[in-house]
């Protein structure tokens, strides 16, 4: 808390049901991305790189893996004396029944005691399922310069897509005058990124009131932000420029992986001044065999490649046998592609084996094929 008196709370309870089988056993923030990462590595690394020392992670849906994953705070260097990553699932309290988190705001409300114990001046609310690099310290500096009560990070989206987002309408100084959730006729293209800085005293007051309201859906976008605007509070938009992706579907998760294949891509995971930290897995470097043919690929440690890999991303420990072809595809950790198998426009889930000479996906499919079950080889 020494560094900037701001505590971060990451909302990581969502299932991400449009990711189908990928989120049967793990919550969306724990889904693998980019060869060696999990999605939640991004907000956690951003916190570490922005000088935030204390991070609460609010988990709910299928949280066993996520809880143990984020509890090892040292992966992100968040393990100094006054630093830590704390897992906050719903819990039973003395004066009420065990309650699940009823909404994004409720998840924070139910942990007011946790936040109070650090008495921060600011609280940063983040989503655990977005891929981006952002310096929250800069956002805080702008929050302070504007003397704002709350600051909301926004990103410009194409006008024709604006009706899919929560849109902030601002005046020329960037002060938010109106918030519209998925407007039919958007007046601006500034989409909320679900990243908020609040002065804790004010937010605390709002949350206590919100908890008592029977009409509230206990959601930041639907309830807290509108009532702050109603009260005439100063809300500012913080314009973010750069790569930002909410990977809600198999197609968009695949696409976000493919984005890494372009030279000088916007996310640039090779930037040494803003590394994304993750679990340190003990494996060998990757091996490239005598029959390999690798073009436009992103390959990480533990992989074994003896086949053809084109336009694809291979995650930790994936292997591609001789004569196999992996094209326009994503192989999640531990995937085994046996000799002669052909994979086209597919996303193969963790640990799945694709048998000898099997054919998966096709070059002209409209959607990316998700393979979450073993595919038997040709006998």
């Amino acid at each position: 808390m020494k560094q900037n008196n701001m505590l971060a709370m990451i909302l990581a309870g969502g299932r991400g049901s449009r990711l189908h089988d990928l989120t049967n056993k793990v919550a969306k923030p724990a889904v693998s991305y980019g060869g060696k990462y999990r999605i939640i590595d991004f907000p956690l690394s951003n916190c570490a790189n922005s000088g935030i020392d204390v991070v609460g992670v609010l988990t709910q849906y299928e949280s066993i893996l996520l809880n143990s994953y984020v509890a090892a705070g040292r992966r992100w260097g968040l393990d100094a004396k006054d630093s830590g990553v704390y897992v906050l699932p719903p819990r039973e309290k003395a004066d009420e029944n065990l309650n699940v988190y009823r909404g994004t705001a409720d998840a924070i409300s139910q942990n007011i005691d946790f936040i109070d114990s650090y008495s921060p001046e600011y609280v940063l609310i983040l989503s655990g399922d977005h891929i981006y690099k952002m310096n929250y310290a800069k956002m805080l500096a702008e929050h302070n310069a504007n003397k704002a009560d709350a600051t909301i990070a926004v990103i410009e989206v194409p006008m024709k897509e604006a009706s899919r987002f929560g849109i902030m309408n601002t005046d020329e100084d960037g002060r938010i005058v109106e918030f519209e959730e998925k407007p039919e006729k958007p007046k601006s293209n500034l989409a909320s990124m679900g990243i908020y800085i609040f002065n804790w005293k004010l937010l605390r007051k709002m949350l206590v009131a919100d908890m008592k309201s029977s009409e509230s859906s206990h959601d930041f976008g639907k309830d807290i932000i509108p009532s702050l605007l109603n009260d005439g509070r100063i809300l500012h938009a913080y314009k973010f420029k750069g790569y930002w992706k909410d990977v809600g579907t198999i197609d968009s998760l695949w696409e976000a992986n493919m984005d890494l294949l372009t030279a000088d891509n916007e996310l640039n995971l090779n930037d040494r001044s803003w590394k994304i930290y993750t679990e340190d897995i003990t494996t060998l470097p990757h091996y490239v065999g005598a029959n390999a043919d690798i073009k436009n690929a992103y390959i990480t440690q533990g992989c074994l490649v003896d086949g053809e890999v084109k336009n694809s991303v291979l995650f930790t420990g994936a292997s591609v046998g001789a004569g196999a072809k992996v094209i326009d595809s994503v192989l999640m950790p531990g995937v085994v592609v046996e000799e002669g198998a052909v994979i086209n426009r597919a996303l193969i889930a963790d640990g799945i084996r694709i048998g000898k000479d099997a054919v998966v996906g096709s070059a002209d499919s409209e959607n990316i094929e998700l393979v979450a079950k073993r595919v038997k080889g040709v006998e």
Binding site: G34, G35, K36, R74, L260, L261, A263, L269, N270, K275, I276, Y277, T278, D280, T282, L284, P285, H286, Y287, V288, G289, A290, N291, A292, D293, I294, K295, N296, A297, Y298, I299, T300, Q301, L304, V309, V313, L314
Partner: protein, 371 residues
């Protein structure tokens, strides 16, 4: 294994690796692009249940201190265990005095502090895996005073020239430990790995000091072979020394064969190292990589064949890298042809278009050099 503590030894005077060792101790040498040599003895000890480990260094300790850190990444308990780096401050001008014994004597207080009845001593300049708890078991079962590890080789005439060889009787009793004279192919190479009682270790150090300031631990054990019961245990599995430039090059290149690598690495014996948090390696349209080991964080646009690529290297368009070891952060520029070379960290090969050494006689490009 609470009954033994570990010592990882510095190199002694007969070992010097051209080029590489000017910048760092052998323990800090890169292996397979991802590891450092010291990861092997430390992981061996950690996996054997030894959680008090002393690493002795003589010169240029920075790279190793940075790499070892608190030892947490070696799976050593941060309260009960400890990874200590002990640096010799009194390095003499004359290298003949800079023995391992001198380094231990200088840190005698730290050795006497150890409450463990046994000590396992292993070199920071050799690559092998070994369960030291088995070695300790063999030691206590046999009732020997000293048990040491050796590896039988059939190429001692041309290689292992600055290592020690053992003369053994039929019962594996050690008759002598001497510098490899290079006169015979088949030899038992000493792996400079010993198990003995801590008290005996301290006694031997004092004895060595009384007899000669030039004595190493191997020397004093050699002259004690008659009075003490010194026995050898044969090591099985992959074994390589990092004791001269060619052996460093060869050991790295040998790992390109996945079968050989599997004789060193196994699922149930993890070799830990310090993570660098590099992203995966990116291959571009023009990349052509075959039969190689590639570490994370690299950008590959060129041709790589039968080579080891370290972390964060750049292989530019039209570059050809063959039979070479490229250490982390090095760059091979457009159209540059590199063959049979060990390219040290962050070197940039840009202007010279052909950097080729003859096969069997690998070349060395210095750290941070631009060619």
């Amino acid at each position: 294994m609470y009954s033994a503590f570990g010592i990882i030894t510095p190199t002694v005077r007969n070992i010097w690796v051209e080029g590489l060792e000017s910048y760092r101790p052998i323990g800090a040498f890169s292996f397979m692009g991802r590891y450092r040599v010291i990861d092997f003895p430390v992981s061996n000890m950690s996996n054997s249940g030894i959680d008090r480990i002393q690493v002795y260094l003589r010169k240029k300790p920075l790279a190793l201190i940075d790499h070892l850190g608190s030892g947490r990444h070696y799976n050593i308990n941060s309260k009960r265990g400890k990874l200590q780096v002990l640096v010799s401050e009194n390095s003499a001008d004359h290298d003949i005095y800079n023995t391992d014994v001198a380094t231990y004597l200088e840190n005698m207080e730290q050795i006497q502090k150890m409450y463990h009845p046994y000590v396992v001593i292993a070199p920071g300049y050799m690559i092998y895996t070994q369960d030291y708890s088995e070695l300790l078991q063999a030691h206590t079962n046999s009732g020997a005073d000293i048990t040491l590890l050796y590896h039988s080789v059939d190429n001692a005439k041309d290689e292992f020239l600055n290592c020690n060889v053992l003369d053994l009787n039929k019962q594996k009793g050690v008759l002598s430990i001497e510098r490899n004279p290079g006169t015979a192919k088949s030899r038992n190479i000493s792996m400079d790995t010993y198990v003995m009682k801590t008290d005996l270790f301290i006694e031997l150090l004092h004895k060595a000091k009384e007899l000669s300031s030039m004595y190493t631990l191997a020397d004093i054990i050699n002259i004690s072979c008659n009075e003490l019961d010194v026995r050898g245990v044969a090591h099985r599995g992959y074994f390589a020394t990092m004791t001269d430039f060619k052996s460093v090059y060869n050991a790295n290149i040998a790992m390109i064969d996945h079968k050989t690598a599997r004789s060193l690495f196994s699922e149930d014996w993890p070799i830990y190292t310090k993570t660098n948090d590099s992203c995966p390696t990116q291959y571009f349209e023009t990349a052509d990589v075959k039969t190689s080991i590639v570490s994370n964080g690299s950008l590959i646009e060129g041709t790589v064949e039968h080579s080891v690529i370290g972390r964060g290297c750049k292989i530019r368009k039209g570059a050809i890298v063959k039979n070479s070891i490229i250490l982390s952060g090095a760059e091979i520029g457009e159209g540059v042809h590199v063959e049979n070379q060990l390219v040290d960290k962050r070197a940039k090969l840009i202007h010279a278009k052909e950097v080729i050494a003859e096969e069997g006689n690998p070349g060395y490009i210095r750290r941070d050099d631009t060619l």
